[in-house]
């Protein structure tokens, strides 16, 4: 019997949509809170958001079958408002253009960007709202699935939201380093963001695992698979150590050593967050166990 139908494309989609949405939120936060010294970060975040979500969405579309070969079928995707995918399609089709428009506006690219610049604040409010919706939706998408008890918990959207924010911030910081490596010293303030998001992510993940162990036999089977079963090496190495502990420690050091940490370590911490974020999505999806029906 088909235990799971989703594979790497959906994992990638969940990751990229989260990271893109997070990058957008980072950009907006920088632009609103510290427009003077975090300009590069805001630019990087805004430039990354649209393409990441768009590529993620492309993964989602590539995972379709008949809907891919006969694209007109995709018009049906907004038919059922009780389906999270319908909501996702609506949110994404609004968010992607807003994200591109925002990138254009913030960076004053093309005529459109210069015109949109006038409505920057509007774009930030609407886009920020849609970005949070996108990040949260990726979690809700799997949280409403009662065919996989492990996913079926309100902790899932919180976990995905926290992960989306930290991976988004990491994307923005790496982007900023690419645009202008000298800004890396100014970024230490943002390490605090990582500390906060990773704390939330770690706590929620811990809660999810512990609660799953008692929630139902199937959820427990999934949790066990992660902490001591077949997926445990990946879980401990990639999600816990690389994805949370290492960047968490580095970010604390970075924050207190303000501007003195080696730039490779700064970027390294962000890369760790990205690896952890992708691994988290993959392991959550692949550890799904169907209800024991007989």
């Amino acid at each position: 019997m088909p235990e799971s139908a989703w594979g790497w494309l959906i994992v990638t989609y969940l990751f990229l949509a989260g990271a893109g949405a997070g990058a957008f939120v980072s950009a907006v936060a920088c632009d609103l809170l510290a427009p003077d010294w975090s300009k590069t970060l805001a630019r990087a975040g805004s430039l990354a958001a649209g393409p990441l979500v768009a590529v993620g969405t492309a993964c989602l579309v590539l995972d379709l079958e008949a809907g891919l070969w006969q694209p007109w079928r995709q018009f049906y995707l907004v038919s059922n408002l009780s389906s999270m995918i319908t909501w996702g399609v609506i949110i994404l089709s609004l968010f992607i253009p807003v994200a591109f428009l925002y990138a254009a506006a913030l960076n004053e690219l093309t005529v459109v960007g210069r015109y949109a610049r006038k409505y920057l604040r509007h774009l930030e409010v609407v886009g920020g709202f849609l970005a949070v919706a996108t990040a949260g939706y990726t979690g809700v998408l799997i949280a409403v699935v009662n065919g996989v008890p492990f996913w079926n918990t309100p902790a899932m959207p919180v976990l995905f939201m926290a992960s989306a924010m930290s991976t988004g911030l990491a994307v923005a910081m790496i982007g900023a380093a690419i645009i202008d490596i000298t800004t890396i010293r100014t970024m230490s303030s943002f390490a605090l963001g990582h500390v906060i998001f990773l704390s939330v992510e770690g706590l929620v993940l811990m809660l999810l695992i512990f609660l799953s162990l008692t929630r139902s036999v199937e959820a427990a089977a999934s949790a066990t698979m992660l902490i001591s079963g077949s997926l445990s090496p990946y879980f401990w190495a990639l999600v816990v150590i690389v994805g949370i502990v290492v960047p968490y420690v580095l970010s604390i050091v970075e924050y207190y050593e303000y501007g003195k940490m080696h730039k490779a370590l700064v970027v390294g911490a962000d890369l760790c967050v990205l690896v952890g974020g992708m691994s988290l999505r993959a392991l959550i999806v692949f550890s799904g166990v169907a209800p024991h029906i007989v």
Binding site: E65, A66, R73, Y76, S79, I293
Partner: protein, 180 residues
């Protein structure tokens, strides 16, 4: 309008898989595609050892999780209570496969859509019974109108207090099981 359902007597199932292959032929499925599975479950230690074969197919839930998560509205319930897939609307997102607690939906990669047991709607519409019901050597399945208290299936369910699989999932299936 009748509401169709099936009662399954697992105490008669010998695990011969006739239902599976009859269904594959009826529906034109390939050898590795199926709408029917038989789960084998062993229990206890000798002399209290026992084994049970549990045939599993689409449960035609009254609160079908697949139907509520389908973004394109391709999954719907017929007036007779049969959960159907509209093959022209399905995009193949596979969300329904994840949502189905019974894991009885498969991807038909040939057409790129998700398919499953449709209770041989074509045969039933002509007054027949599904292929899995008619082929079974030990007559494990009883098909009929759940709304009619005098139908064989209703009587069987009432007599043996047959239960659906995992009633706690609140999907309200139309397939009932007599176990042990």
């Amino acid at each position: 309008m009748p509401h169709y359902g099936i009662a399954i007597d697992t105490t008669k199932c010998i695990g011969c898989h006739s239902c599976r292959v009859a269904c594959q032929n009826q529906q034109g499925l390939k050898y590795d595609q199926s709408f029917n599975w038989i789960k084998e479950r062993e229990q206890g230690r000798f002399p209290a050892f026992g084994k049970e074969f549990v045939p599993v197919q689409c449960n035609h839930c009254q609160d079908a999780p697949c139907q509520s998560v389908c973004p394109t509205g391709a999954i719907y319930t017929s007036p007779e209570g049969i959960v159907l897939v509209h093959r022209e609307r399905c995009v193949g997102c596979k969300y329904c496969i994840e949502a189905c607690p019974y894991k009885v939906r498969i991807v038909d990669h040939h057409e790129g859509i998700v398919v499953k047991c449709w209770l041989c709607h074509d045969l039933v519409a002509k007054g027949g019974e599904p292929a899995c019901v008619t082929t079974c050597p030990t007559q494990v399945r009883i098909f009929g109108d759940l709304d009619d208290p005098n139908s064989r299936v209703s009587q069987f369910i009432a007599k043996h207090r047959a239960q659906p699989l995992r009633p706690d999932l609140n999907t309200r299936p139309r397939i009932y099981y007599k176990r042990s």
